[in-house]
Point group: C2
Chain length 407, copies 2
């Protein structure tokens, strides 16, 4: 029976840990923050779990949040411009967004109840070799701090060297949910996108407004404004920007009730999408495998980061269960098995933040606005990102997709 | 609906063609020999279809040969030396060996009945571009002639530059089948192997004796002796060599009845195991994908060539059905999806003909001779070559496999 060490208690580390416990594999998660710290602190993200991830949660026995109450069912699209477009696409089965300060601590609890060891201690890159002596392999799933730097950046899969969006995400009261309850994906050409996400947090069912702002555009200000300095001014700015750029969401905002759920429920920043090498050999001959954000960081614009991490964890778990060794062959198997989906997520996300947007993406969005079946397929592909990339990887492929729906 | 061109009517071309016809995809097979020529001529090989390939044949509706009558059920092992070892491993489900001069023509007939186009014409490498104008992609599955040369050799996956065995395979009368009916894998250390295969041919249920002879060893002579020059001398030589080196097969030979089923049912030669690039871009921008022997040539020592080709065809077919484009992304998907199994077949086969044999292979064979469950697992892995390579890829992995069966 192998013995697995995991660094990091994000979705990748916990889904892998829980998978291994289901198969009675001894596993230790090392994390630099205690459960109480995971449950407190600033909003860490605003993450969607698409149905394929929900299915993994069901299989792991951690589906604690009834999908009909906590889930959402469709994407509402708004594309601004001289002739704005409003249209909808349905999932075949619901997605779900939960505040990770609720989600991750509950999973740590599940993990410990099921015999997983959870050790709170700082882990720096240089500690990994020492920890690896206790385990057959180290899985590095902490995207925080310097751990990512262990794994070289892959220039061939990382087209950007600077953030393509300045991010501002907060949890808000005062936003009436869309009907049917869904995520609104609103595009203000040249300025950025708004993802309005029904999310469950400490204050119940609230709304995450994730502004993806093009640097230099009219919305960038949102990523820089200081909320705590003048909360009323921040609310006013957010309302004004929503009104000008994202009107279908603005229509559902009650200005009198519109306020952050807490000053801590706001995250501003930016990231550089990066794909890193899958694994490395440690000086003692053992291996460290990168999973989740350590392996690929994607912009949150299409809500695929958690899905990529959970999938990667699952593939890693399956390969651990079936394999006999934890050598380079093992790492190469994991890398090869997850590559199609994980790279499709990265490539698709990078296309969505490309500026100016490629003509075939605009053509697809326009066609989707006129064809519900096409938009449903696009929407459902949020669970099957490799199929989405089949459609978007080239203008010829998009053309073939449009022809398929026309024919 | 795509339109597919296939060059070659071996198992890869025909399994792919039949798969595509099941999905109503227009497909043309170009072959340099007519059906009558496929059915006549010299013995082309002595090929085993392990059960995973039989399952594909069932799915394709070409399982015309009742597995209980035509199949075989186990491997009988003999390892010579001061203390010879005799032991047996069972399949979970039977394998089958058919004369390809019966098998391939029947599949061409099925293919044509199901709407496939079968064109007889010489196809040289330089014709592929012209043919590609009629199709969305060209699949090259003819290992004969210069077609392989289109695809560069991969040095990283091709450890040998010369044949490691001199081959002599004939179909024989006068060999009583083993009980239970199985393939005998007989090893004469330092001199080579004999695979004794129950095979169905024009004369009914006969026996293929595939001598795998180490160059410079006592058996090499078999690959060079001229049968037609003196059939009685050739029989005598074969009997003598079997007696000296492969006694468990020799015991079941009736010398009075021992003769080739026909002078044409003998094949002597040698091959260099080679892995080639998966695909190439043609000058007109279309792609040619290598499948089967064009992609990987393996020594027949463990009977994996046809299984590799059929699997590769199946993956190609599935990817054609689901995809929208036939560009580099398509070719890379096929390459990635088949890589784990196809490369495991190649790596495992290359280990089996390595000289001298690696210590961990000998250790495994020795342990198998004492442990029926271990030998059954090894035997059944002829359908799952990637699992076999999990066991054999390193001494540490073999050790872990032995520990698993000991524990």
């Amino acid at each position: 029976m192998p013995n697995i060490g995991i660094v990091g208690s994000g979705i990748a580390g916990l889904h892998l840990g829980l998978f291994l416990r289901q198969h009675d594999v001894p596993v230790t998660i090392y994390n630099d923050r205690a459960v109480e710290e995971l449950a407190s602190g600033r909003l860490p993200n605003s993450v969607a779990h698409h149905h394929i991830t929900v299915q993994r949660e069901q299989a792991l026995g951690i589906d604690h949040w009834d999908i009909n109450e906590y889930g959402y069912f469709c994407h509402h699209h708004y594309i601004g411009g001289p002739e704005s477009l409003v249209f909808q696409g349905d999932f075949a089965a619901p997605s779900r967004a939960l505040d990770y300060r609720i989600y991750l601590p509950r999973l740590v609890e599940d993990f410990q109840e099921r015999g997983g060891e959870f050790q709170v201690r700082p882990v720096r890159a240089e500690d990994v070799v020492t920890l690896s002596e206790r385990h057959d392999i180290m899985v590095i799933s902490s995207g925080r701090g310097a751990m990512s730097g262990m794994f070289p950046r892959r220039a061939d899969k990382s087209p950007y060297t600077a953030p393509q969006r300045k991010l501002c995400v907060g949890l808000w009261h005062g936003v009436r949910h869309s009907e049917p309850r869904g995520v609104t994906m609103s595009i203000s050409p040249g300025h950025g996108e708004l993802l309005e996400i029904p999310i469950y947090s400490f204050e119940g069912h609230v709304t995450a407004l994730l502004f993806e702002n093009v640097p230099g555009g009219e919305l960038e200000e949102l990523a820089n404004a200081d909320h705590d300095d003048d909360p009323a001014a921040f609310q006013k700015l957010t309302l004004e920007k929503a009104k000008q750029h994202h009107p279908t969401t603005f229509e559902r905002i009650d200005p009198a009730a519109f306020r952050l759920t807490s000053p801590r429920d706001l995250l501003q920043g930016a990231l550089v999408p990066t794909v890193r090498e899958d694994y490395l050999r440690l000086p003692n001959g053992k291996y460290a495998l990168a999973v989740g954000d350590v392996h690929t960081v994607v912009d949150p614009i299409i809500g695929q980061g958690a899905n990529s991490a959970s999938y990667s964890a699952w593939v890693t778990g399956e390969t651990i269960i079936e394999d006999l060794g934890f050598d380079e062959r093992f790492c190469q198997k994991v890398a090869a098995r997850r590559a199609e989906r994980v790279h499709a997520i990265s490539d698709w996300t990078n296309l969505m933040i490309q500026g100016p947007p490629p003509a075939h993406l605009l053509e697809l969005l326009g066609a989707m606005s006129q064809n519900r079946a096409m938009c449903d397929e696009f929407t459902n592909n949020f669970s099957y990102p490799e199929r989405q990339w089949d459609i978007l990887a080239s203008p010829e492929r998009t053309k073939a997709f449009l022809a398929k729906h026309a024919g």
